[in-house]
Assembly symmetry: D2
Homo-oligomer: 292 residues x 4
């Protein structure tokens, strides 16, 4: 994602007359190489690092600079022609670049999750149709209560997931507000007054995401609200998936001394001591990965 940002920044810096076209062209070419999957082995910095991500940003600046130098016909390290800080990082600071890259990556991650949830939701919808005539005991507080169908039960699981897909899409919209152009602390020091607006539109085009610039860049540079909100929505998804999996485990308990209302397909070859046993391993994995 950093390569998208470096590419957008170089183009806008050139448009604003701050960067030579020749240098812009080789930076763009280098960024496109990285986005195509090349040179990933050159990103050697651990994801857990102190500071604001400076090491990762500098790692990207240096890889891009050296690759661009090679495209110019120079040797790696001949920074007098194209410099990691002066040219690749122009108009930028770790404090706006890194958080913007994180938001772009998060946006794509959210939609991968939404797509997976839709697959599961449709599977529950199919089961809801299949079980629409299966009458069963409805329970409250684990005690027998009043009748319902097994289809109603599976339909509820589908509806729960569908609602959470909507909530995730809303959270994705909040993630689209970026502070690119804020530079170090939000005052835009070292950047052209027009830069923030231009680079946001350019990055939105490159990444294919509806990005907007935050109205107050000082605030946006110290604000992690969109991530806390997303965390809350992910907790919501986890709580409901976990509840559904608890139900599936209860409903499939048995075969003789349990509720025995559904059969889960066997996914794992038995127990080491009781080879015929079928365990609800998929719901158990989900329960293990969802917080309390």
């Amino acid at each position: 994602m950093l390569a998208c940002i470096k590419q957008a920044a170089a183009i806008v810096n050139c448009e604003l007359g701050l960067l030579d076209k020749a240098i812009k062209d080789v930076i763009v070419k280098a960024c496109e190489d990285i986005r195509a999957g090349k040179l990933h082995e050159q990103f050697v910095v651990d994801v857990i690092q102190g500071g604001a991500g400076t090491s990762t940003n500098m790692n990207a600046n240096e890889v891009i600079a050296n690759l661009a130098l090679e495209h110019m016909g120079h040797k790696r390290g001949e920074y007098q022609y194209l410099h990691p800080n002066e040219h690749v990082n122009m108009s930028q600071s770790t404090n706006d670049v890194y958080s913007t890259a994180l938001k772009v990556a998060t946006y794509f991650g959210i939609f991968r999750l939404v797509d997976a949830m839709a697959v599961l939701r449709r599977a529950f919808e199919t089961k809801a149709d299949e079980f629409s005539d299966v009458l069963k005991m409805g329970r409250t507080q684990l005690q027998d209560a009043v009748p319902m169908t097994l289809g109603q039960e599976f339909s509820a699981y589908a509806v729960m997931l569908g609602e959470d897909e909507e909530r995730l899409k809303e959270a994705a919209m909040l993630i689209c507000e970026i502070n690119l152009g804020a530079t170090a602390i939000g005052t835009g020091i070292n950047a052209h007054p027009e830069y923030a607006g231009f680079v946001c539109r350019r990055l939105a085009d490159i990444a294919g995401i509806p990005l907007v610039t935050a109205p107050n860049l000082v605030e946006a540079t110290q604000d992690c609200g969109a991530f806390v909100q997303l965390s809350g929505v992910l907790k919501r998804v986890a709580v409901k998936l976990s509840k559904t999996c608890n139900d599936l485990r209860l409903l499939s308990s048995g075969p003789r001394a349990g509720l025995g209302e559904i059969n889960l397909p066997p996914m794992q070859a038995g127990s080491s001591i009781m080879p015929g046993k079928v365990n609800p391993v998929i719901p158990e994995v989900v329960n293990q990965t969802t917080p309390g």
Copy 2:
């Protein structure tokens, strides 16, 4: 809040021809008495209780029934004329009544918080204007970085709060989806088919809240998603308030061996051993009440 629901239910049950007008009238009168603040000492059930809130719901049914009996000229306990379960709780179950009451109460609670946050936001905005010319060191990672104004710093606090007011209002809208009419498990057993829609509109009028009936009542009866989402938004508010208070404590550190950029007004009479000392007690209280 339960009294609002019991009142709405009685009116709708009467409209649907299920409840005598005379009984409806005394139930409504009893509910209005309770909503006016009478008889709160009769609600004796602890808020921590097993089950789904059955004890609280039955407590309300019985208080309302006995009060209504007195309005009819009967003695308390003469349930042959008006019964807590049969008349006051008609078309209802704890499982829809209690969660709806909780949502109505939560809605009002959210807006009390939003109002308090707006007061604080305006105070920060005033300080932002007052300090708009005070130049200071901007810091990143607690290290000296580049200049900014103290006004920009306070403006950021105001903007943070303003955004969270918007998020809370969105969370309040999700809280407005109720399962009233679902009865025990969402199948609407014991309730008239028209009841759910009618009672939602009636309750919305009485409470003055834009309530809507959930599209799938089985799902809505087992879904706590709106509360988890609200919890996430409250966490967001808490994280940002806590960050702001940490800043206020750092900026007011000193007077001689600290940053000493602002002075907080003294709110507490000193230390027991160093009587002249001023502690940042208000930010500290906020930090104590916000989770990590």
Copy 3:
């Protein structure tokens, strides 16, 4: 608990020749009055307060001073004879007094919990004997596995509780290490060199607890390790009680469409819509009060 500390401090200050015997005597008498339950209505400070507890400490100093003044035959507020800071708070700071009071109170709280757990443990032991011949299906992962007795199941609950009683007693021993005599930051400023050792032994006598002075008072004044450790042990107790209650709810599910292996005694009058229903309300309350 603060009154115990103020009493111990006054006695030691007098022994060290820092406080007149007459003033010591009335402070001791006032502290004994408070410990006997008098004047609790004079402690008006909210438990949530900024700072280190200064307001609560000053509240105690002032109540004791005024009560002592009355014992001397003076009027309240005639601090020229006996002063809240100079005499009652002598050799003390909020930073050692408040944390020591908290530890003494916590020690007693731990043993109230241990006693309650022993009652529950003995009840499980009785049931284990009673059910020692009841053969049942043992389950793993909610699936039928191999046979066991219901007595073995209840015996496990008893053993779990017994182990946690031991862990709580160990945590109580860590709580007994206090920083009294550290004063403001652990350097013992404003206190006699012998004070810390003397006052610890005196307070141990008064409170009846095996208190010891921390070896490094600077460290002890900023260390909350014993409380974090206790929190971990309480989490352990909560996790196991919650697991036991989940088991009780599962085993009592039914009566027809559940496991139905045990019957819990009815504790609450039914459901509002299904009056004959028995809910596992006591286990549910425990589950509600235990964190995830």
Copy 4:
């Protein structure tokens, strides 16, 4: 760790007359191969799995069986001579083998942490000596309070760590209580009555750890108390390390507009926009990895 257990089980099964010496010998040889680091690429099961770890246990049984078959001169898969379940897993269940392996691994992990903490503690002790004459302002609630030395401050950090080393060693002792011999649910089904005691002593020898068999194996098979307790102690370590790192960041703030009492060595080449800047990156990494 599973290989240690399989080795101990084979030896004890042979001693009890349940397993041929020839088969025991090749199982032991296969286990020693694995413990020497061979064949790690054959353990292909993801650590996140449903069930109780059955897949991992079966993975181990099969790798050991096939390796032992090769040592016998047979081909892989000729299970008629030596079977993964019947011989390698004899007297065992995933439910005792897996949790015992986890405890043995945790024991070694605890002591790796204790060793690392001792290195850090000694570094703080060295600094405490070096700074024993550096007078500085002591602070409470970030406000100037009374004098102390920088050496006292670093000494406190060392003492904190030393105490936590002791707590970790206590938690390690609780981890040493294992349920090996419990088999599926703690009743020891499929195992010889003498097996549990024998295999514990044998495993203690092989692993070099003071293991003991839990007094009640039904309880021990469903009890995770030692892990919850350890989690509490690790939280204690994390809270204190995090507090120490917060102090280091505050004390090194500046250079001009901060407290500036200490200088941390530069560990990272500057900021991308302010190349001369030194960030407290090591304390920041620690703070990032410690929970709130």
